[in-house]
């Protein structure tokens, strides 16, 4: 579904990604772990084209997303993204946040979108917040709304960029549990996270990145119980 070929990314003189190759199939739940600054967030941002790559290719369902002939916006409709800082639209109510994209892109009528939004809000247990503004919600609630906002587009794949890192500890579970539910329902996911419970329970594959390279990858069992590289062993000893 997603193929990353020899992806390189430079910020000025600093090389952040040094030739990443990655293949994600439908239904996979790939989790990217690694120390901060290793380029995992940048990789995720390159996959949906928010960050322009320096060289290499990202191919989504057979289309090179950086090709001039491909409408990147159409690609992004199928790739939901959840950010560390939630990035809800503060000037819109919760319902308006969720229905903005499908209505303005004329994918749904306003009535259908509102109906769908209410269903999603029921699913994430926040139906009573539908007319509130983001500033009236807790971090965990905001992040669940952000996930709902991505889900209303019926994405083929969901990208999560450290979705629980900006949350108070007691709010991590509510977001993590929602992500686990999505995983159980077969959503294709690429997740950058430090939330090891999610990794152990849901990941079909774990990728360990270090200094712009993929150092090791495998099933959660491989990674946690049988790490090969010293760097991964050191990393795991710190996060455990």
């Amino acid at each position: 579904m997603i193929t990353v070929k020899n992806l390189k990314k430079k910020f000025g003189n600093k090389i952040v990604l040094k030739g990443i190759n990655l293949n994600v199939e439908k239904g996979e739940r790939v989790v990217i772990i690694g120390p901060s600054g290793c380029g995992k967030s940048t990789l995720l941002r390159c996959i949906n084209g928010i960050e322009k790559l320096t060289s290499g290719k990202v191919i989504f369902e057979g289309k090179d997303i950086n090709s001039k002939n491909v409408d990147i916006n159409k690609i992004r409709e199928k790739m939901g993204m959840v950010f560390q800082q939630f990035n809800l639209f503060p000037h819109l109510t919760i319902t308006e946040n969720i229905i903005l994209a499908p209505v303005k892109l004329k994918i749904m009528t306003k009535e259908d979108a509102v109906k769908k939004a209410v269903e999603l809000l029921e699913l994430i247990d926040l139906k009573d917040k539908k007319d509130m503004y983001p500033s009236q919600l807790s971090g965990g609630q905001k992040q669940r709304i952000a996930i709902a906002r991505a889900l209303i587009m019926n994405p083929e794949v969901m990208l999560f960029d450290e979705p629980t890192s900006a949350l108070d500890p007691e709010m991590v579970d509510e977001v993590s549990n929602l992500m686990k539910d999505l995983a159980k329902n077969g959503m294709t996911m690429i997740v950058v996270t430090h939330e090891m419970s999610f990794v152990k329970e849901c990941a079909s594959r774990v990728i360990f990145m270090e200094d712009g390279n993929i150092v090791e990858e495998g099933t959660p069992k491989d990674i946690f119980e049988n790490p090969k590289s010293d760097r991964l062993k050191e990393f795991l000893s710190k996060v455990k």
Binding site: M81, N87, P90, H91, S135, A146
Partner: protein
Amino acid sequence: MEVLFNIWGAIVNFFQNTWDSFYQTIIYDNRYIYILEGLFNTLIIALFAVIIGIVIGVLVALIRNNYDRNNKFKLLNKIACLYVNIIRGTPQILQLMIIYYIIFGTVDINIVFVGILAFGINSGAYVSEIIRAGIESIDNGQLEAGYSLGLNYSKVMRYIILPQAIKNILPALGNEFITLLKDTSVGAYIGIVELTKASDIIASRTYDYFFPLIIVAIIYLILTIGLSKLISMMERKLSNDYS
């Protein structure tokens, strides 16, 4: 008794002179008509210049922001930068004269229209910088969230960035409009009969400056205070909406 009488006489005299001055400069020969005409022209110039200023300002700001963010509109961005630099780098009175004496030098054209155009073009440069700063004040995550949902640049701007930026833009924009309203007095230099010129015409006929200048000053004050009240009302309405 005599002292009181003198004081009374002085008071009567003062009011008599003041009234005479007022009568001579404002009422006699329907001179107030000049002030009304001046007020009308000032308002017309300010109103249409503001509209032109906003249209140019939004366009220039979006061109420059689009270039900064997406590297699009390279040539248009160059032109926009040049325009902003020229307008901000030369005196307004000179711009007005260039437009009137050089660009429209050989054409018979309504001078109020020249004023509208000159002040609108001038205002556009300042408005564009205000809007650009307002757009840049919005967290980049908002843009990214919009993009990630499949919205394109113009939809993200229209539905996500600009509605938030307007809160930051409005106070500075209000200042700009008040400045513009006062600066229309520069139009007197090329002979536009706006408020300041109107008072000058009356004063030069009567050699009495007091009432023409004071009345016109009061009119400017009423206009600018009214305008700033209106703008702070809008600000309050916007800030009540959320947060």
